[in-house]
Point group: C2
Chain length 372, copies 2
């Protein structure tokens, strides 16, 4: 199969959907790889490295004009025009963006939105949300440490002792757990909060303290269980009590990392303006939920701002800031997914009964397939 890897053009997007490692493996499976000139440069991969792996280095039109195109971000209108009708597309295609999916269908693409894979054991190795959230959690701590005017570790010096930073992590999914692990590496004292009581043990196993909020009704308890690994919106009564507990910790925190995302919805507010006002001057909030509006209403997505003496980091593409590793993991996710739709003969086939393929297939033969 003729597989194309274009350079990403979304603003601030440094990742690339294939690496020399995955290019080599696809070629070994009998495919022909066309990589757009410079596609990997922002992720520290040279054209020479792709060529050495066996890829043809081509121009933009040739990379898009393949039977199968591997992308990181959903193609824009200009890119859609470069696809051949009937081509296959795999990428992070925003399965909750109804209009975007319609455009993919209108372009007659067979499109796989990899974010839509079920959260099953079999799908783990192609779970792009997890692989990228992991890196986001790491980088969020690095950004926090970059903007924070003190050290993370406790330091004993001849001029006296410096206290360890107090880090509060709100939302303990993949990103939150990696944020805890990274802050812990750096020597911070960490407290973490989440609506799912099940994460308490994980939090503690990483050396952080879990901020507990007791459940008072069955409704609260049921909501907390969640669905598909994600928390469901909690009842207002519980959220209010949690805010009180969290507010106390945030007021004492040096660095707050918020990670609460609910797929397809705006991010919930976890840190109010009043809470920011109560924080110490020089504190830092890194809002990983910035792409979904942020967990703090003062967050300005895409910006780093200072309000009430607090630095708010609203970076909307954290994985792209570690584009080399992010591309490496993403490309492996893509490679693993492709095993489900590429045949041994080097062709493409839609399996009839594969739950992962079915979940990811958002457009086919002119129709939007997913009901998000």
């Amino acid at each position: 199969m003729l597989i194309g890897v274009p350079q990403e053009t979304a603003a601030g997007e440094a990742r690339v959907a294939a690496t020399p490692e995955t290019v080599k493996k696809l070629i070994a499976q009998g495919h022909t790889l066309r990589v757009q000139q410079g596609a990997g440069l922002d992720a520290s991969v040279t054209d020479e490295a792709y060529a050495a792996a066996g890829a043809d280095i081509v121009d933009r039109a040739s990379a898009f004009g393949c039977e199968l195109v591997l992308k990181v971000r959903s193609p824009d209108a200009g890119e859609l025009a470069l696809f051949k009708p009937g081509a296959v597309l795999a990428g992070m295609l925003n399965p909750f963006d109804r209009d975007g999916l319609q455009r993919l269908a209108d372009a007659r693409l067979t499109a796989f939105a990899l974010e839509a894979a079920p959260r099953t054991t079999r799908a783990q190795s192609m779970d792009v949300l997890s692989s990228q959230a992991n890196l986001a959690g790491y980088k969020a701590v690095m950004l926090g440490a970059f903007h924070y005017q003190r050290l993370f570790p406790m330091l004993m010096t001849a001029a006296g002792t410096i206290k360890a930073a107090r880090v509060v992590v709100l939302g303990v999914g993949v990103a939150g757990l990696q944020a805890i692990a990274t802050a812990k590496r750096l020597g911070a004292v960490i407290e973490a909060s989440d609506v799912r009581p099940s994460v308490k043990e994980q939090v503690e196993s990483l050396g952080a303290k879990f901020i507990e909020v007791p459940y008072e009704t069955d409704e609260e308890r049921q909501a907390a269980e969640g669905v598909g690994g994600y928390a469901r919106p909690m009842p207002p009564s519980w959220l209010q009590r949690q805010q009180i507990e969290v507010a106390k910790r945030v007021a004492q925190a040096d660095v707050v990392i918020t990670t609460a995302l609910i797929p397809g919805r705006p991010a919930p507010v976890l840190v109010t303006e009043d809470m920011v006002r109560a924080m110490k001057p020089g504190s830092v909030i890194v809002d990983i939920a910035a792409p979904a509006g942020g967990n703090c209403p003062l967050t300005e997505p895409g910006q780093t701002v200072r309000k009430h003496g607090v630095t708010l980091v609203g970076e909307t593409n954290l994985p792209s800031l570690v584009a080399a590793d992010a591309s490496s993991l993403y490309a492996r996710n893509v490679l693993d997914f492709l095993k489900l739709v590429l045949t041994k003969e080097g062709g493409f086939a839609l399996p009839a009964d594969d739950d992962i393929v079915t979940a990811c297939l958002v457009a086919h033969e002119g129709q939007v397939l997913r009901q998000a």
Copy 2:
């Protein structure tokens, strides 16, 4: 004694020479403290915090018009005009800057350059070079991690393993040791080099590998012993052999942190342009020696640039990027030094036979005293 704490005005200088902690202690010793309005803001210290510690919040002229003025950086011409003749000044006054010292003498100041303190046990608690270098070492790693497109720690994920970053630290003084410790915390694999064989054990005790270069002559051996804790310039023969060893490691490195400084001299070249050219795309060099011209000729002091695919960080005031902790340690250094020149009765007296005071006193009664 009337003690003034002005706001620093040098470009990019966020530190302040006194903190509420040291203000409180000086007031308890019977002194009156005047802190310029906003002096601590860039170091996350509010006027309210100084006032609560007992300081008067004053304007610029009042802060400079005191009997004793505490500074971080040497005063510029405009600031010198604000001093009362005969006033006492303590700060980091560049004892190797002959013209600068002359200006202090011409202003009839009694001036103490705290960088000039001898490197003795008794002087440790007032060693500003060490306290600030320690923070520079930490922040250099944070900047390296900020610009590096991959992760520092090894990571095992469902999409496969990410390798740990290879960090090379050149020059293992206080900054280099803290850089090693910080990179180690983050999970990097570290190699370190220095002209003093005595640091090998310290390097290894922090979990890094020491890059050894054997000595072939007595001259090399003697030079390596060093004076006053600082390395003396090594003979060219040895430096050439070291460059060959270091070049091999740098070519494989992901992040290189250079820290080689010789007081009063331009920084030695440790990473040549050819060595940069041999590095992997996406590698990062953080040149802590940037204020002295840099350990790499491609470093642009004050800038972060990309050359031959390598990011070179030439930040010239790393401690100022962690201004809160840097001020805290610096202020304690200053407080400890002041004990040597402030009397129990709340006055000022030059002790006749104190080696620390003698070393630091660079100007007095119109004369430049130090022979740097």
